[in-house]
């Protein structure tokens, strides 16, 4: 741990503060075990990261394609996710729907998900079926099939998914509203599920083009965690996925850059939700930026546990909110730190808003206490421990490290970076980002 300057606003004399610091350090949680995974790059550009875990005779395989909803072109929002569904619709040697049923026929589980930045296909199986999942992934990476009827039917499924997750639930559209108003040009302005209109406009030609562009080994990362010998796993991965030809074209990476926000934005909307919501959002830098670490500490101080600042102030002490929290959405491109309060019936919205803003600005005005710093560090350590219990969780951290940071070892370094972030770093980050000019205040009220 690095030595930190005494916080300027600390009420303790310097000597006592240092003593408190030492106590916090002495009581620090044990360091979570390192993953120490192996990383190799195949000739076709596929990144492979493997980690042996012999505690249970199973294997988890995760294939990440570095393409998400932020790569969608205008008029095709939701397409990355729709495409993800099409990957289950058959390839040269695997008829439609067989991918999932082959895996379940041996007792395995499989699924996929799409985010703003990536599309992830995963499976967990009894360990001896590692060749099966590699064969399946290679086949659909190399030889996907699509036909018009299947595509149209799956598009209806995705539209139902949007209705189910987003439109038919109270607050289901909240993140859509936040992002639509926080961003002006960057594709984060639309969420992964996309719009009905754009889903309707998507065609089989779009599927072909997207597949050729993004579903290529030089845009993919395979993470394997489980009960295998690492050399054997790499050899198997090479036998199947290593044979998929590299794309001759570079994978496009150009995206519109969101211009800095220069004045406070205020938006009031109406939705048929039971209780009003207030959102206070600020633009923050991307995942690879050094400030992402203090911002994650800030989110802990604001929002992890019933002793956290936002819970204590808005929910517990003042009773403004049914639910309130702040979270840092740290992504590949600059994203948002947003705080949300679902306001109790009959409560004054201005007061709730002031209380929420006050908690964000307090982080900029004064350094967090040593006690809060120690607590946040312990909570981050616990997240590392309980968030890396399963093979799937380990593979997710490793693949993220490779895709976003370019290096599997960053999954192990991350913890040290978090522990090195100081109270002063948190304050500096809060001062830099939690400013009125960089702020969106969104109110969503019941129909007037």
């Amino acid at each position: 741990m690095r030595l930190r300057p005494t916080p300027a606003t600390s009420r303790l004399p310097a000597v006592l503060a240092l003593a408190a610091l030492a106590a916090a350090a002495a009581g620090a949680a044990p360091r979570p075990p390192r993953l120490n995974a192996r990383q190799v790059t195949f000739e076709n550009g596929l990144q492979v990261v493997v980690l042996e875990d012999h505690s249970t005779p199973i294997v988890h395989a995760q294939l990440w394609y570095h393409v998400g909803s932020k790569d969608e072109r205008p008029g095709r929002t939701g397409f990355a996710h729709l495409f993800e569904h099409m990957m289950f619709k058959g390839s040269k040697n695997v008829r439609p729907e067989l991918h999932a049923s082959l895996i379940s026929s041996v007792g395995g589980e499989s699924n996929a998900y799409t985010t703003e930045d990536v599309t992830v296909f995963w499976a967990t199986l009894p360990a001896q079926y590692l060749p099966l999942v590699l064969w399946l992934e290679a086949d659909r990476m190399a030889s996907l099939k699509v036909d018009e009827a299947t595509f149209r039917r799956e598009r209806e499924v995705v539209k139902e998914e949007r209705r189910m997750r987003v439109e038919n639930q109270p607050y289901g559209r909240l993140s859509e509203l936040i992002y639509a108003h926080a961003f002006t040009v960057h594709p984060y302005r639309h969420t992964t599920v996309g719009s009905m209109k754009d889903l309707e406009a998507a065609s089989v030609d779009d599927v072909r083009e997207f597949y050729r562009t993004y579903y290529v080994p030089n845009n993919a990362t395979l993470a394997l965690v489980g009960d295998f010998d690492a050399d054997e796993a790499i050899a198997l991965a090479r036998r199947y996925l290593g044979q998929v030809p590299r794309s001759p074209r570079p994978v496009p990476r150009e995206r519109p850059v969101e211009p800095p926000q220069t004045t406070l934005r205020r938006v009031t909307l109406h939705e048929n939700w039971p209780l009003p919501v207030i959102v206070v959002a600020h633009h923050i830098p991307p995942d690879r930026h050094a400030d992402s670490f203090p911002l994650r500490l800030a989110a802990k101080v604001l929002s992890d546990g019933q002793s956290s600042r936002i819970y204590r102030s808005l929910v517990y002490e003042k009773g403004h909110a049914l639910s309130a929290f702040g979270t840092a959405n740290i992504a590949e491109d600059p994203n948002l730190f947003f705080a949300v309060a679902v306001v109790q019936p009959g409560r004054d919205l201005d007061e709730a808003e002031r209380a929420l803003v006050a908690e964000l600005e307090r982080l900029a005005d004064e350094a967090i206490s040593e006690r809060e710093l120690a607590r946040a560090r312990n909570q981050l350590a616990r997240d590392h421990v309980v968030g890396r219990a399963s093979n799937q969780e380990k593979a997710t951290h490793l693949a993220h490290a490779v895709v976003i940071h370019g290096d599997a070892a960053s999954a192990d370094r991350e913890f040290d970076s978090l522990m090195e972030a100081t109270a002063a770093d948190v304050q500096r980050a809060a001062r830099a980002y939690f400013t009125p000019a960089n702020r969106l205040i969104l109110r969503v009220l019941p129909p007037s």
């Binding site: 026929s105 699924n111 086949d139 036909d147 799956e154 499924v157 992964t192 109790q344």
Partner: protein, 537 residues
């Protein structure tokens, strides 16, 4: 777990993902004990030796004759091939665990697992919302909510400071048959975790100001929940299936019952049910058995055994056909539930019934998914679950679709229930369902939490612990006759059907599809406690 959905919907914000298929949740639904764990999403017992290799790689009929419009998109010279053979199968057995009982009756499970330097503590009290005093739904839920809002001389905020400061987690909640409190701490903080957990279970304060605070939270939570179509569909379905049995009542209470409950209600419930001889405790993680037992004895050893109150709730009614439409004029979709009374967890043919329902709509099979989603694109998710609790259970098929296709989806679901009884399940279909369950076993013992869940399940339902070892054999011996016998439990002409959606558009479809008798509950008129589901005028 009985949970109000408000916070869940918002939690989605942090992780905006969309999955190709809904997460498999079949196992969860049949296991209320699994609901008691905060962290691990998977559950339920299975045990098995390796999967026969032949089953694993069925001769894949290489790509069906492709239709003229379909085209292989990339790498036209990609070779033809068949699924590769598996590697050598591994030996699989249920991991070691220890079960002991303290002199005061507290049952303790210890699972040692050293990979991560943390210990989780899970306490289960054998009383849940089903044990609410008659006419007072929501008492058990409020007791569990208030457990960590002040206990053993510490205020709510002092407790929060203590657990958060150590980077730990402390959560409480309940199901139909049980209440729970869980703690997760780093291994050096085991004594702290044990002390906090003992405090909240044994001596919650139920401070009046905390009750008022949480009462407001629950009332607002209910306001949100009653606008949530999935909550509404489940609420009404449970009520219709279980009738006056407490499984049919809203676990978090109603607005009126929550307003009426008093501190004395809470004290009485806690005094009656929270006792060592009514509690299971699992200690899981990086700790030796003896060290764990020493700490348990120190925190819980002097908790006095108590005589437990008798429990004899009303019997659930027999299945009766009923179709209810809950009108929500601005719904984007219709939530659909179809099903009826099922079986409790402890029945001799549980495995056969489980296979039957899996064939209808569970992982490894799922006719509903095939018919509604794959063949017709009517929905994102269609599944069938078996809820099997201490005293009874239910079979429930669920899906959601737009208003215009609601009648069609309902018709298909009802037909699949009927077909399950009318036609014998096919050989291959049963073999696939069995292969899934036996093959899946090693996935259910990956984390120490999952292992503990299985042991807790067995203890909670008073099942033989050796069943944990013999699960695979018990699945493998199930025959087509056993499944046909299990199907006799179904009464497809007496299904409970609930639709939550736009009545104006749904109702005209019902008559056309042969659903001549139904009830429509207008917006704002629902009273789940009354027999006709309507508020008195």
């Amino acid at each position: 777990m009985i949970a109000l959905p408000a916070v869940c919907a918002l939690a989605v914000l942090a992780v905006p993902v969309a999955q190709a298929s809904p997460p498999v949740s079949v196992a969860q639904a049949s296991s209320p004990v699994s609901a008691a764990q905060a962290s691990s999403p998977v559950s339920v017992a299975q045990a098995s030796p390796p999967v026969p290799v032949a089953q694993a790689s069925p001769p894949v009929s290489v790509a069906q004759a492709s239709s003229p419009v379909s085209a292989v998109l990339q790498a036209s010279r990609w070779p033809s091939s068949t699924p590769p053979r598996p590697l050598a199968p591994r030996d699989i057995r249920f991991p070691a665990y220890e079960v002991r009982t303290l002199p005061n009756g507290l049952q303790v499970v210890v699972v040692v697992h050293r990979e991560q330097p943390a210990v989780s503590l899970r306490a289960i009290v054998r009383a849940g919302s089903a044990h609410d005093p008659p006419g007072r739904p929501g008492v058990a839920a409020m007791v569990s909510t208030l457990l960590d809002q002040g206990a053993a001389g510490q205020s709510a905020q002092q407790l929060a400071e203590a657990i958060d400061g150590a980077g730990g987690l402390l959560t409480t909640g309940l199901g139909r048959d049980l209440s729970f409190a869980n703690a997760v701490v780093m291994k050096g903080d085991l004594a702290l975790g044990m002390r906090l957990l003992a405090g909240v279970l044994r001596s919650p304060s139920f401070a009046p100001e905390e009750l008022e605070r949480q009462r407001q939270q629950v009332l607002s939570g209910l306001k949100v929940a009653l606008e949530d179509p999935t909550y509404l569909a489940d609420l009404v379905f449970d009520r219709l299936v279980y009738g006056d049995h407490p499984y049919g009542l809203p676990g978090h209470g109603t607005v009126e019952s929550v307003q009426a409950l008093t501190r004395d209600d809470l004290l009485a419930f806690h005094g009656a049910h929270y006792a060592p001889n009514n509690t299971l405790l699992a200690v899981v993680g990086d700790v030796e058995v003896e060290e764990a037992m020493t700490q348990v004895a120190s925190a819980f050893g002097d908790w006095a055994r108590r005589e437990l109150p008798p429990f004899s709730p009303a019997r659930p009614p027999g299945p009766a056909r009923r179709l209810v439409v809950i009108d929500r004029p601005d719904a984007a979709q219709t939530e659909i539930r179809v099903g009826q009374l099922g079986v409790p967890r402890k029945v001799d043919d549980h495995v056969a019934v489980d296979l039957l329902i899996k064939i209808l709509g569970g992982a490894g099979a799922n006719r509903l998914h095939r018919v509604l989603r794959i063949e017709r694109g009517l929905t994102y998710s269609a599944s069938a679950d078996m809820e099997s609790l201490k005293q009874g259970g239910q079979f429930v098929g669920q899906t959601s679709t737009r208003a215009g296709t609601t009648g069609e989806a309902l018709r298909l679901m009802v037909d699949e229930f009927a077909r399950l009884k009318r036609e014998r399940v096919g050989d291959r279909e049963l073999a696939d369902a069995k292969a899934y369950l036996t093959g899946h076993f090693p996935l259910t013992i990956e984390t120490p939490e999952q292992i503990a869940t299985q042991v807790l399940n067995a203890l909670f339902y008073e099942l033989p612990l050796r069943d944990l070892e013999t699960y695979r054999q018990r699945v493998n011996v199930v025959t087509l006759e056993d499944v046909a016998r299990a199907a006799l439990r179904l009464q497809p002409d007496r299904l409970t059907m609930v639709l939550v959606g736009r009545a104006e558009e749904i109702v005209p479809q019902l008559g056309r599809l042969g659903f001549s008798r139904f009830e429509v509950i207008p917006p704002g008129a629902l009273d789940v406690l009354s027999a006709d589901l309507r508020r008195a005028r």
